[in-house]
Structures are given as C-alpha cells and as structure tokens.
Symmetry: C2
Subunit: 179 residues, 2 copies
C-alpha cells in the first residue's frame, strides 16, 4: 500500500491550480475540441470535476462515516454535468473548481482522522464493501485520469499536423473515451 | 490542418508553469516512482523535456531554415538525460525548464515568420522530408505526451490502493513506456 493522507492531499490540492495555469486564457479551439463523438471537451472535463466535488467524494466519505455499510451509497450520475447549461467562462469554471476543492480538502481533514477512519467501510452499490482509504485513493487517481484526458484530447487536435512524427507519438493512438 | 503558431505557443508557454504548479514541493515518493522497469520517473521526464529544448526543437528548426533538405538533421539522443548526473532538486529542474523554454519561444518567434516559413522543409534521418509546421506541432504534442506520462506514472502508484475502483480507472491499465 502506498497511500498516505499527506501525499494524497498533495495531489488533490494541486489539481485545480495546475489546471488554472494550464487552461486560463487559452484559445477556445483547445477547450472545445473532442477526440470523438460522445466524448468530452476540455471544458466538460472541468465541469465533471466540479460535479464530483458536489456529488461524489465528500458526500460518500460522509456516508461511510455515518452509515457504515448498512445502506449503499446514493447513486452518483457521472454524466450530470452534461445535462446542465454551462455558460460561464473557463476561468470562472476553474475558479469554481479551486473554491469547491479547497472546501472539500478542509472537510476531508475534519472528517478523516488517519489513525481511526481509513479502514472504515461503506457499501458501494456495485462493488460491495469499500474502504475510506480506497475512496480517497480513487479521488486522487480520478484527478490524474482527467488531467491525462485533457492533454490527450488536446494532443489529438494535432493528429494530422504532426505529419510523419505520428508514428512516435503514442498519445495520438490512445483510445477515445469519456474518461 | 488545425495548427496555428498562436495556439501552438499557447501550449508551449504554459507547460513549464503548469508543471511547476503541479510538482513543486510535492513528496519525493511521487517524483521517484516508476511504472515499470526501464521507464522514467517524473523527475526524469522533466530532465528529458530540458534536453529536448537543448538538442531537439530549436536546433532542428534552425537546421531547416539553414540547410533545407540538403543534409539530414544531426542525430538527437532521446535518452541522453539518463546518462547525466542530476543532483538538482525538482524545483531547480522546473526553474531550468521554465527558463530554457522561455528562451526557446523567443527564438521560435524570431526564426519563424508564419507567412513564410511554415512550409519550409528539412531532412529527417528516418522520415525524409518534414515541414517546419510539422516539427512545431510535434513539439506541442510532445509536451502533452509527457504531461500525460507524468500523471499516469503517479496514478499507477495507487493501482492497489484504489481497491475495486480499479475496474473503472483506465489510466491504471494504460501501457508502460518510456514516453
């Protein structure tokens, strides 16, 4: 096991600021391209990360500590951000992600005493019993997954532009997907 | 074709600052893990990006403008950073990348007039004739590739820690590789 609360929080607190530095002020062409039909734009990935803060991570951790594994987690719709109208700019979305993530980390530190709560269990509707530390690890990997998705979607805009170098650039052959 | 100089430079100028915000001050455990034998750590990826500025992008663009396709590019060793001793901290490496990239972008703008030079050709030792705009597009995609690599290497540290969620996290199944 590699997980520690300290190192997990190091990634969680860096993600929004990293994305702010990468995406603020960038051209719309980078933000609204897709790698294929039914896949997410860079902008939609940011919306999905915001929805995760609202519906998934802290709500489920709270559920674990309150309900244990007596009742399964309430369902979480990972496509909910696509049903909403998002007319805010990328800078506003990134600011929102930064704000809500800061609140989540504060709450995480209040909720979880690493000496007592990491092995606490909840009931996942599909997986059955899951541990608090597995959920927090997944939160970290979920961030990293979506950073990887953002750069992959952007890279694919230049699939043809790179000419013969395409043969050396594995990212251009990586599979499409919503996440 | 999606390439424009303006949008390419948007990515090139953001990469070092993005990586600085993501990696400065992070624990060594994130910087020195590997996804498999013979693959690069996060720290080694930063060294590779620095070497690319020294040996690859601007030197090859200069070659295209000076030599055209009369003589092939001098060889570029993509593993050269592994032969050197790198005892500097990650913050020093990131600062070096930022500095050398800023110089490269200044040079890029001096060298390339988008109205005149994007179709200029050079001779790649393996691919034959390549265009300046293909080389610059590849520079952009190379940045994105190595950001994807960094987050993938980090994500794989938690391959076991995520428990049953592994099934949903494609990044943990992405193939190993030096790049």
């Amino acid at each position: 096991m590699n997980f520690t609360m300290k190192e997990a929080i190091e990634v969680l607190e860096r993600t929004p600021k990293t994305l702010e530095h990468f995406l603020s002020g960038i051209s719309d062409e980078w933000l609204h391209c897709r790698e294929g039909e039914g896949t997410w734009t860079v902008s939609e990935v940011i919306e999905h990360l915001i929805e995760g803060e609202r519906q998934n991570w802290i709500p489920r951790l709270t559920w674990i500590l309150q309900e244990g594994d007596t009742k399964p987690f309430p369902p979480f719709d990972r496509y909910s951000h696509l049903q909403k109208k998002h007319e805010s700019s990328i800078e506003e979305k990134l600011h929102e992600l930064n704000k809500i993530r800061t609140e989540s980390i504060t709450r995480l530190k209040e909720l979880i005493d690493p000496e007592r709560h990491l092995e606490s269990t909840g009931l996942h509707p599909e997986f059955g019993s899951v541990k608090a530390r597995e959920l927090i690890s997944t939160w970290v990997v979920h961030d990293l997954t979506h950073i990887a998705q953002i750069v992959r979607v952007m890279a694919k805009r230049y699939s043809t532009d790179v000419g013969p170098w395409k043969a050396y650039l594995g990212i251009l052959k990586a599979k499409d997907g919503a996440s």
